[in-house]
Amino acid sequence: MSTSATAGPTGPSSGTGLSAAVDLSPKSRPGERVITVVLQLSAYASIAITFGIIAALIQPVTEFFSEVPFGDFFAFDGTYAVLPLVTATLMVTLIALLVAVPLGLGAALYLSEYASRRARKILKPTVELLAGVPSVVYGFFALTFVTPTLLQEILALDVGFTNALAAGLVLGVMIIPTIASLAEDAFSAVPQAMRQGSLAMGANRMQTSLRVVFPAALSGVAAAVVLGMSRAIGETMIVTLAAGALKQFSLDPRDGMQTMTGFMATTAGGENPVGSVAYNNLFAVGMLLFVITLVLNLVSISFVRRFRQVY
């Protein structure tokens, strides 16, 4: 034990002896610094992407609006009217949600409340497979099966070859896993203690699921639905193929109608000279679509925040 030096630490190696001083001064680690900066830049690439998207859209959009008044764009009628596209998008999305919300939440409840761990391990990826099926494939399926066989033959509905109904149904199937997966996370995040509390009072599983787990996870469920909705709105190929390529305002799901993404896909491959007003229309619609999905995502994120903080 040192009596001589006030700051005389022991040499760590001997444990008993004394060393001159403990060196706690920072070592320079240039390699670390470089790596940190590289990693940091990679992380900020995502910001660059967002600004890139906005930058890529902004020039053609301003050009577009310099020639087309706002009122002509946000109109139901006219060459550049976007509202028929918006209503078509909403119509298709609504149908998709009608399919996907009950089924997605049902699947999520089954996975989190009923399935054994083993079964969940198999079932969850199986449901998630649905999200992996390429959307061209879904679109093709809507065209070649859902409309002609399911809607026209089996259900004897008077639908056209392209119609919002088929697009919405197939789109709904496609977003089931988005909703199921996120909702399942929310249900699973409800502490086990909450379930045990309910079961220990003599509630059965259904009561526990519906009265305790579901309400406890409500904001997570909301987030799941909103995210599913934004997926549906942004999906392109299914609606391009199945909903049709005719811009028209209609509230009848049996009609064909062109959605925002459908418009973008066909215009990008269409006849209009690049730089023309008609072509820039594509970017204006793209910007609107970006803004809509952005708002929805922000809403979804804020819901997720809330459910994380509850317990």
Binding site: F161, T162, A245, G269, G270
Partner: protein, 298 residues
């Protein structure tokens, strides 16, 4: 030529020894023909790498006039602003007509209507059209509700009908219709729906003659049925239109692969048009195209 077409073809003009790449883009209407040319050429000479895109006539001209592609397919002649871009970038080009497309107005085979005048056609499909029953077009037509099957608004076929046949400045057609980018769907729709009417390329009709009925069109000179002959002869107006390829002069001169492709294309034009399901050029038009081709170099 663009990046892909820039490697100069090697060897002599015998296509068998030429290699290099050719970039084609543009009209989805002309696309099948350019693809047929590509395929047939590759059977003889697999070393020529041709890519054919279908960005649309407008999209095609964009990349063509910046020098990215060697050849642009077009279902309409180049427009003035597009010419300006080409000029700005120093892209000189030659327009070659490669086939004739005859829009066919087809109705359900059971419908008792045979001929429409051009005005009646406009009354039927134009943007101001309101008729929902055939007898509103002409009292002699049957009392039968009309169903419409139109191509997508971005297709060349739609544009042609809207801009050139109907000629309304809004360049749109009536919108209470069913529509698809897939002509096949239209064919099925018309053949499967009572009182249906639709329009699409002549060959789609030709293939489905048994289930469809093509309307004759009276453009003031009596009813004319769509056919290769009437289209070639210029009698089937106003529904017949020319299809083009635009060839970059410098690519043709500098890139043997481009020259080989274009030469092959024009040499086998009638076969290619047939595969592409269009009406081949009349002899007169064909020799015109050939002589234009010969003039590219000079």
């Amino acid at each position: 030529g663009g990046d892909a077409g820039s490697d100069t073809g090697s060897g002599d003009s015998e296509s068998g020894a030429v290699s290099g790449s050719v970039a084609v883009d543009g009209s989805s209407t002309v696309y099948p023909m350019s693809v047929a040319a590509q395929e047939l050429l590759n059977e003889e000479n697999p070393d020529i790498q041709v890519t054919v895109g279908e960005a649309g006539t407008g999209g095609g001209f964009e990349v063509f006039c910046t020098g990215d592609t060697d050849i642009s397919d077009a279902s309409r002649p180049i427009e003035e602003d597009e010419m300006a871009v080409c000029e700005e970038n120093g892209v000189e080009y030659t327009e070659l007509q490669v086939a004739t497309d005859a829009l066919t107005v087809a109705v359900n085979a059971d419908l008792d209507v045979d001929c429409l005048t051009t005005d009646q056609l406009i009354d039927l499909v134009g943007p101001k059209a309101t008729a929902t029953n055939w007898n509103e077009i002409d009292p002699s037509f049957p009392d039968q509700e009309i169903s419409f099957f139109f191509p997508g608004t971005d297709s060349g076929t739609y544009d042609y009908m809207a801009a050139d046949v109907v000629g309304d400045e809004s360049e749109v057609l009536r919108d209470d219709v069913e529509s698809s980018e897939d002509d096949n769907v239209l064919v099925q729709g018309v053949s499967g729906t009572e009182g249906a009417v639709g329009f699409f390329g002549y060959t789609y009709y030709e293939e489905n003659q048994d289930t469809l009925k093509a309307l004759q069109i009276d453009d003031g000179n009596g009813c004319v049925a769509p056919s290769a002959e009437t289209a070639q002869a210029g009698e089937y107006t106003p529904l017949a239109r020319p299809l083009f390829i635009y060839v970059s002069n410098s690519s043709y001169a500098d890139n043997a692969a481009v020259a080989a492709y274009v030469d092959f294309y024009i040499e086998n034009l009638s076969d290619i048009a047939e595969i592409g399901q269009y009406i081949p050029l009349s002899d007169e038009l064909y020799s015109e195209t050939q002589s234009t081709l010969e003039s590219i170099g000079s």
